[in-house]
Symmetry: C2
Subunit: 491 residues, 2 copies
């Protein structure tokens, strides 16, 4: 019975995969064709789906048609369209033709590459493409796979900073004793992504030992090395142990760039692990004219960039390079009998399971490899440059409108702006009005931008970086923002 | 230039996605059609790929044809074919037609669902399908999303046990003070997956406080509650704080099932968090006749099953249910300004970012939803039953051959066996011979099995669970094993 009928889906069958795979390709291609017809930010209310779906799984098979119908009528209204050309919120999360093909192939092969032996190509291709990208970024040799260093694909920047923090923690605790955990201190600017706070929570760093250094408009929200030096000195005097510094190239709020070289010097002279989060802006640094923003990277111990943000590689694909792979593997290795194999035991290979939190891992290097090959480095550079140019144009439009101000000088493709305070200069009122503007433009469905706070000011963020975004989308977006603002201005 | 030529791939373009997506579907369908022609375990040598690929990324675009050619000639030889019907190593990692379609759709939509607002459907569908599965497993009500509990998709069982351990750690440290980390004790049987050890390392549990309780053939490698009680009492007397117990339903080595009810009683009376790892065997428990193996689950605090193992859902899809979601969110929440939004601030919604390590997350519930709908619960039960029947048959074949013995009674679809010691009863020699047999069968390319050690004996593991595996594959596998064994037997 089970496989008796032509209409019943088998667990796996090459011809059914072909038939329904083609149908799904068409469904997705049609989605992209019509993507501008959807409200960018989903307009549903909390709990909307509960009433649209049954309370339990069906006993018997339904058809692909039924499911695709439900995707159209029930799921898509609840989707916020990250791939829309009018998605400008947070940071982009690129899907591309090449990245999509890579995801398909990875799902199709269905391997789990925790150890080299479980699919040598998965480990080796990952090493190779991370070397490729390290070279495009002109990272120092120590980050390449031929020595003690190397790159690895993590799921997210959060996992990247967590694994290096664990590595750094265990390295220092091995020398000072594990009961000294309460003395370890972490440093970063207040502009650092919440992923660092989360890593500290997980690693058990005491909250009172997390130094969150002030960064304000005087440095465009970059960390000030003298504040770091002061904090480190104070902690040393108090008998604490500075052990981890997180620098930023392109902060989440406003793309601030910390001065890596100066920070690295302080980190080095205090034996601290220096990690750099370039999750967003790292992509831009493959262009020679933007490479300067990671100058000083040679002083770091680890460097992270998310290919899944602004590098045409579908989520998830967070690239982490370390100079000392053994710091990672000493902290994260396990060696159960059921995973032992000749190649690993003979130490001939890398087993990426010991470079990350999970055991299992998908064949994620395929999509990055396909992006690099199907676009090529020059196209990727021009892709980045085009978004930066569009952002430059928007920055100019904003600065020409007396009702608005650019809050921090644009560096990459994020424009931070707000409606200016009106006559009474009431900052609170101004913040409220900008949040109202945010709500008004996003509930229009025409575009999606997000916000942040800088020095107490509510700031609107327009991050240009979706693969489909063109000049016309940015212009239209600015028109919608101006129009919605006009209703909020005092008459 | 960039988009001028028809042959140049654009970052995103619906018609190019359609054209090349179709080509990739055919490539993957052809792969499944010919999957039995590949050596199951890749036969390449360490470093093989390095010489086959260039040292750096291309400057200019290459074609999809060139890449697919390279996949065929350079990547596939380095792939270990997890989806082959002759893959019996570790545990299965199912890819199915439905799961593959779900992966495609998820990659196509390209959303990042960290907060409800970033795609309400992603959060809500996940809550709904985890409720569906909780009901299929007949989990207690407290694991459903309507109260304080609920389910969440993690990337792996390693992440599942890590997040609940962090939740449990912080919960107890909030009451005893964070300087007591060195007093916290974790309990498990020695058959527990290395993921627990890794979680302990990351969470900073002192290695000498990890109680690894003996489990031997007298209980078929299940944990003995009296050993747990003794260990807990000893630790309490020594002023330590028992806080976390990990039970197993279907251990990695031999599918041992710990007695949940008895263990749960001890956990409860000592205020410990009780987590159950049913990563592999959980799937079987949707069948009424196997539900008994999770009897006592009502005494647990968290329960984990990997839909990406034996439930037709492509990796990664690790299901975690907790009774107290607030224990998770208290440990893992962060609330930066740039992620604030009305729905979250009003506490109207679940934000899964606070239930997991990473911030970003893929739309993984789609594939589980499609598996449940396109196959239906009855088909899924029969899928499991069929593999168990095949394993039963193999168990019988093994037990009928005087040169072999079944090492532990088969419970699910894993058969643990070995060549028996010969006349001199030398266990070392016997172990060596079994490893030689392992090497011989795996290097034949005809099948892939793995091994473990139980009470010092090297044991061969044949885990039946690939979607394409049929009776003929199991029979042929046994023939190959017998044949290879015949060369190793003393004349």
């Amino acid at each position: 019975m089970e496989n008796g009928s032509r209409n019943v889906l088998k667990p796996m069958d090459s011809e059914q995969l072909r038939e329904y795979g083609h149908r799904m390709v068409d469904f997705i291609a049609d989605y992209y064709k019509t993507i501008e017809s959807f409200p960018v930010l989903s307009q549903v209310q909390p709990g909307y789906l509960h009433n649209l779906l049954p309370d339990s799984a069906p006993d018997h098979p339904e058809t692909v048609e039924q499911v695709l119908d439900d995707v159209k009528t029930k799921i898509l209204p609840g989707v916020t369209h990250w791939q829309s050309p009018n998605f400008f919120a947070y940071y982009p999360s690129n899907s591309s033709v090449a990245g999509f093909l890579g995801e398909m192939l990875s799902a199709g092969l269905g391997i789990v590459g925790f150890s080299w032996v479980t699919s040598p190509a998965a480990t080796e291709l990952e090493m190779i493409v991370l070397d490729w990208l390290a070279k495009l970024l002109n990272l120092p040799e120590q980050f390449l796979s031929k020595g003690n260093g190397g790159g690895v694909i993590q799921g997210s920047a959060s996992e990247a900073v967590l694994v290096v923090m664990i590595a750094a923690r265990d390295k220092v605790l091995r020398s000072v004793g594990k009961n000294s955990l309460g003395k370890l201190v972490v440093y970063s600017s207040e502009q650092t992504h919440s992923a660092l706070q989360k890593a500290c929570q997980i690693a058990g760093i005491h909250p009172e030992n997390c130094r969150v250094l002030k960064a304000d408009s005087s440095t465009n929200y970059a960390m000030r090395p003298e504040l770091l030096q002061e904090a480190v000195s104070r902690d040393l005097e108090a008998g604490l142990i500075p052990f981890f510094l997180c620098g930023n190239v392109g902060t989440t709020s406003s793309t601030a760039v910390d001065p890596l070289g100066a920070l690295g010097k302080i980190a080095k002279s205090n034996d601290m692990w220096f990690h750099v989060d370039a999750a967003y802006a790292g992509s831009a640094c493959i262009c020679p004219e933007y490479r300067q923003y990671i100058d000083g990277v040679e002083t770091t111990d680890s460097f992270n960039m998310n290919a899944h943000k602004w590098f045409l590689t579908n989520f998830d694909c967070s690239l982490l390079w370390v100079k000392d792979q053994y710091a990672l593997t000493e902290a994260l290795s396990t060696n159960p009998e059921f995973l032992k194999n000749k190649a690993s035991q003979a130490d001939l290979v890398v087993d990426y399971k010991d470079w990350q939190i999970p055991l299992g891992r998908r064949f994620r290097s395929l999509k990055l490899w396909m992006v690099l090959r199907l676009y090529g480095a020059e196209t990727l550079k021009n892709y980045i440059r085009n978004h930066i140019k569009l952002a430059k144009d928007l920055e100019q439009l904003v600065s020409q409108d007396p009702n608005f101000e650019v809050i921090t000088p644009r560096i990459f493709a994020l424009v931070c702006f707000r409606m200016v305070p009106t006559d009474d200069n009431d900052e609170k009122k101004c913040n409220r009005r900008n949040l109202e503007l945010l709500e008004a433009v996003n509930s229009s469905g025409k575009l999606f931008i997000s916000h942040t706070a800088l020095s107490g000011k509510i700031v609107l963020r327009c991050a240009i970086g979706a693969p489909l975004t063109e000049e016309k989308h940015v212009k239209e977006t600015w028109k919608v923002i101006q129009e919605k603002a006009s209703y909020l201005l005092p008459k």
